[in-house]
Symmetry: C2
Amino acid sequence: MAKPELSALLSQKVAGTKSSPIRDILKLTENKNVISLNGGYPAPESFPIETIRKLTGIVIDKGPDIFQYQKTEGYQPLLDVLPSFLSRKNRQVISTSENIAITAGSQQALDIIGRLFIDPGDKIAVESPTYLGALQAFNPNHPQYIEIATDSDGIIPASLEQAFIDHPDIKFLYTIPTFQNPTGKTIPLSRRTEIADILKKYGKLAIEDDPYSETRFEGEDIPSLQSMAPDNVIHLFTFSKTFAPGFRIGGIVAPKDYIDEINKLKQGMELFTGGFDQALVAEYIKGGYLDEHVKRIAEIYRPRRDMMAQAITEHFPDIFDFTVSQGGLFIWVSLKKDAQQLASKINMKELLDEAIKAGVSFVPGAAFFANSKGNEIAMRLNFSNQSEENIVKGIRIIGELINGKLSLA
Amino acid sequence: MAKPELSALLSQKVAGTKSSPIRDILKLTENKNVISLNGGYPAPESFPIETIRKLTGIVIDKGPDIFQYQKTEGYQPLLDVLPSFLSRKNRQVISTSENIAITAGSQQALDIIGRLFIDPGDKIAVESPTYLGALQAFNPNHPQYIEIATDSDGIIPASLEQAFIDHPDIKFLYTIPTFQNPTGKTIPLSRRTEIADILKKYGKLAIEDDPYSETRFEGEDIPSLQSMAPDNVIHLFTFSKTFAPGFRIGGIVAPKDYIDEINKLKQGMELFTGGFDQALVAEYIKGGYLDEHVKRIAEIYRPRRDMMAQAITEHFPDIFDFTVSQGGLFIWVSLKKDAQQLASKINMKELLDEAIKAGVSFVPGAAFFANSKGNEIAMRLNFSNQSEENIVKGIRIIGELINGKLSLA
């Protein structure tokens, strides 16, 4: 008669899995009256609706094959057009259609990477801080995270090398070299060369996650790590930021033997990625629409970033460092080194609760540290998904709340 | 300088993972001159192309939200319309929008089930034979399979009960009660009641995979196992057979606490299932197009099934049993009990190789046994994806090859 007890059935992989703080915050802020600075959402007004309409017509006219089961490897016309997309100046990735796997956005790529490489206790090197969604994808495999120190130019090469010396069994480095999530930081060219050399020297693998390099709105493109060490780097890409997230299309560039293993795993996971979505992206690239779109989002995002940076300067107390990057979606705010004595006065969870009540949300920094200490005084602020007016209003509210805490104490 | 050695990096989960025999056969038969009786593909001429065109227009007109990131739980208008779809006579599933999770087809549902419940060595009860894709989804979690004996009416309830007695630690039963893959068999009502009672008596969980119950072309609908034991049964559904596989939309019905765990896992896997595809399916159901389509595929599949059954009778030697089911996509051919002495004369791998050379493909039976003995004299034949003429031609070729083997020996 008994209902099976869920807790007795759950595998060790998922037992104790926590929901994402971002997801929880999103639920609290579904209310449209809350100014959400938390998600990494593109601006909805940037979505190329009329292009999508045109492309759906083109794809449907091609006849029934696109609606049938597809091979796991991907839709061939998309695979064929990707190497040229990947070789653009912002990536310079070296690839052929044979060493690319298609995934449902880059989140699925991260899930595949985690399942492919991580056994419980395996060591993974990550930036400190790093992308929360990658931690979520890797966590069910129970890795041990080795945090690599970063400065304003991202990963410090000496720290990475020391980690490979101290932990020769590190399975891979996970890094977002361009407009990092959450910090917005970009690793400069010279440092990338150093990192590539370290990977080669120690025979190590890096996962280079690049969802943002097309969102550059100023400065010079920097070649990918993959372009410097294609045997040592798996490169991830996505069209969520440059087409629309609602089409779940991303992918993995890796040596051919890796791609074969990826596709074997992927077949059991979902057989193949949606064919209609794959065909739409193929037409989107072939039609040259991506180039137009990238220009358009730069025009939208740049003033929003500027407005947010200015508002932070104006409304936050002068105890924070914050990043102003040349692209991407985020500004990262963190307590200055010489203001650490103020840390005890700010409880980030409390600040978030009060901010949501006052009509604005953000993501507290702790979520982005693999081995979080719990109350890192930092926050990730998204500028792509709100009007300039809302950005200023949101930042002002958060600033006032922080000032209140400091004066109270 | 070294390239990281892939074999040293692979996790124990995936090390030794084999590619699917179906996938390998599909590659061999991409050549359009081979009559493929192997895939479980719907008829491409059934795809509702003009409906799809209309629905894409409707969805695009709704504005940008559908192209944005969606909540992991699913697109609300789809969740809202599913309970009435699931309560149709062919399922009679008991659900609300709160206890449904959306997945990228039912393959992703199987992947989620495997990850959620299976630790290495855990016991899983499966039909003998069972769906190859489920084995592929479960295998990376390294379960131990307990095969449950079946007869012409599917699972034998006494065998299931004995398995629960012999192995009280079985985590779940995986079953496809309606038009089973690969056999086409359907468990009758009285036996479903018995199985539901056994599940309740032993407090056991069943995964009821139902991709086919809408493809019934004759006979009476039979309620799902879930309708008889909603606390003990997780029900899987998909629109791959009733809309088109190219839209990867399926789902899971389960008690609410299970759905919460599923969505936590799914968020790390891919954040959410494609919003555009979800919206298309929602409009497809709401517009009543599914009802029309189900009638249409019955009209296409029924004569194909009849033609295949007739051709088998005519061209195969009288040493096989074969199933003629009231729906689904497959006929299962297996050596009669009183012809087992002929088994040594037929090497199924050899037969398949010769068949492909002669222009027709099928899936050898061994692939569908969880604990395969290697040369089961059986084959799965798909009738949904070929013209009546091709079906007859394909069956004639296979029959001649088998006759040749028997007379040679």
